[in-house]
């Protein structure tokens, strides 16, 4: 019976089995709370009678997810906002920093890719700036910009710019001479050549860079929001840790993963739309 199913169906069944087994092991691994027996005077005074904090079982996390997702946009003060609002703030920062980066990286990458001189002149700067952890920019950003929200956006900008810049330059430099010659023999101007030949030819490489960048931006925003505080999914995780609400921490970790997956899937779709076979 199993052999008759398609590859995807078999994989889906296996995924569900692994999920179920994982959840069962997790549920079973949580030690049951010991019944409070006879306590000494000292134990009673130090709170030994209260249940110990532990990793919550999956059933509790699912219950939390149900509560949060059934009302994701409530706003009950600065430290009590729905998960939807927190993710919304994070997405707003990621996307604004990311699109600013794209606005700079793609035209600059075009220039670097077209001109070997520009490539050689700018390469040392890129090589020095690229390996810097984006969070290392935070203190400088806070000092110069004097606004924690804008500083978070700046950090996203600086971490998203490199993969897009390098991939655009690489893609543009790698456009086959034949295709450029086709544009030349058809008397296309520089701008028309850029938009009708070089851009579509380099698009798969450029979009790959954009996809890497959005992944990195989503990784970095969590850490950045833990630092700047106030709103966002990163702040939410840290706030719930301070509240010792591990159920919420686990729930928000899962939400970070799901949103990251959705962002990646969007860029994968874009990648498919610009792909071509030679």
């Amino acid at each position: 019976m199993f052999a008759n199913l398609s590859l995807n169906q078999r994989a889906a069944i296996l995924s569900l089995v692994l999920l179920a087994v994982g959840l069962l092991i997790w549920e079973a691994a949580i030690p049951a709370q010991k019944a409070v027996g006879e306590l000494t005077e000292y134990e009673r005074l130090t709170g030994g009678g209260a249940p110990k904090a532990g990793i919550p079982p999956p059933s509790e996390v699912l219950g939390k997810a149900w509560d949060e997702l059934s009302n994701p946009f409530y706003d009950a003060g600065p430290n009590d906002k729905g998960i939807g609002i927190q993710i919304g703030y994070s997405l707003y920062r990621v996307l604004s920093g990311y699109f600013l980066a794209a606005l700079v990286a793609i035209p600059l990458g075009f220039l670097i890719g077209m001109s070997p001189v520009a490539y050689r002149a700018l390469n040392p700067f890129i090589q020095v700036l690229r390996p810097i952890s984006p969070l290392a920019w935070m203190p400088l950003a806070l000092f110069v910009i004097q606004d924690s929200q804008l500083s978070a956006i700046f950090v996203i900008f600086i971490c998203s710019i490199w993969p897009m810049l390098l991939n655009t330059a690489f893609g543009v430099a790698g456009v086959r001479d034949d295709w450029v010659n086709v544009a030349r023999t058809h008397e296309l101007g520089h701008l028309r050549t850029a938009f009708t030949v070089i851009l579509p030819a380099a698009a798969p490489t450029i979009v790959t860079g954009m996809r890497i960048s959005i992944g990195i931006a989503w990784l970095v925003i969590v850490a950045a929001e833990m630092l700047v505080g106030g709103t966002g999914i990163g702040y939410y995780v840290w706030n719930e840790w301070n509240n010792l609400d591990l159920t919420s921490v686990i729930f928000s970790i899962l939400m970070i993963g799901i949103v990251g997956m959705a962002l990646d899937a969007a860029f994968a779709a874009l990648q498919r739309s610009v792909a071509y076979a030679e």
Partner: protein
């Protein structure tokens, strides 16, 4: 002497040889092409055929010398000189039709889209591509079909000079034959001036009005200009029956096999180095063939 439509004058190409010296590929190459003529250039690899083609296309600059078309010196690529590249050079993200409309649209920028599409479809059907096939991407087409699209794109531009750089080099022999026929058909209807590179002697005889023969490089030169004295329209099976066919073929084989090497590096005093004109015609000496009014009777091979 009247000026030919296209004249190549004292073209020299030198490259650094990588050891501090200079390598001269060809020197003082000069020849002319008349309007409406189909000229094929034959020569061994490395004699600079492709370099000459790139210079004619305006994609490369010669070390010295000029190319004049219609009396004006050529500089840079232009729509007046269309190119069909050996590797087709279709844009892989566009469909076959869009590749041709790309060319037509570049030529006629003021045309409405519908007219551009119509014109592109007309030229695609001339090379035998019609129906759903024209909406496929180049990667979904066979090599032969891709080269047809490329030929349609070049002819649709109606350039003053069409340059074909070994257009059938990457195709198998059977496909090559069919597309040669398509090329002859589309060329016959347009009076297009064509300059073509090939390695294939039979292809050259079938297609050309005149064949330019190049000696081996370095210091290659255009040594001979052989007139193909076989009347048109020609077919692949028809030309082998013609009395001039084997004489011309033998001359070409002989040149490529021996004389291209022997003549290589010889620099005659004449600075212009016009190719020597060779005309092989056996029809005049023989009695008029009766094949003209009746089908040729079967002949014994060893008669």
């Amino acid at each position: 002497m009247s000026r030919p439509f296209l004249s190549v004058e004292q073209l020299t190409q030198q490259f650094p040889d990588g050891q501090g010296g200079i390598q001269t590929v060809f020197e003082n190459a000069s020849f002319g092409i008349e309007q409406g003529e189909f000229v094929v250039i034959l020569g061994h690899s490395g004699c600079g055929k492709s370099t000459i083609m790139n210079i004619l296309a305006g994609l490369a600059e010669p070390t010295s010398g000029v190319v004049k078309m219609d009396g004006y010196a050529v500089s840079g690529p232009s729509l007046d000189r269309g190119v069909v590249f050996q590797n087709y050079s279709l844009l892989p993200w566009l469909s076959a039709l869009s590749n041709v409309t790309f060319g037509v649209g570049a030529r006629h920028r003021d045309w409405p889209k519908s007219r551009v599409t119509e014109e592109a479809k007309r030229f695609l059907s001339m090379v035998g591509l019609e129906g759903d096939v024209i909406h496929r991407k180049p990667s979904q087409l066979s090599g032969g079909m891709r080269q047809r699209v490329s030929i349609a794109r070049a002819f649709a531009n109606q350039p003053k000079l069409l340059l074909l750089d070994e257009p059938f080099g990457a195709l198998d022999a059977l496909t090559r034959g069919t597309i040669q026929d398509e090329l002859l058909k589309i060329w016959g209807g347009t009076e297009q001036t064509v300059f073509m590179i090939t390695h294939d002697i039979d292809e050259a005889i079938l297609l050309a009005d005149r064949i330019l023969l190049m000696t081996n490089g370095p210091f290659a030169r255009v040594a001979e200009s052989v007139e193909i004295t076989i009347p048109r329209p020609r077919t692949r099976t028809g030309i082998v029956e013609h009395p001039n066919y084997y004489a011309i073929r033998n001359h070409l084989v002989h040149f490529l096999g021996e004389r291209s090497k022997a003549l290589s590096g010889q620099v005659p005093g004449d600075a212009m180095q016009r190719p020597e004109t060779v005309r092989i015609d056996h029809t005049a000496r023989e009695p008029a063939p009766d094949a003209e009014d009746a089908p040729a009777p079967l002949r014994a091979v060893n008669s």
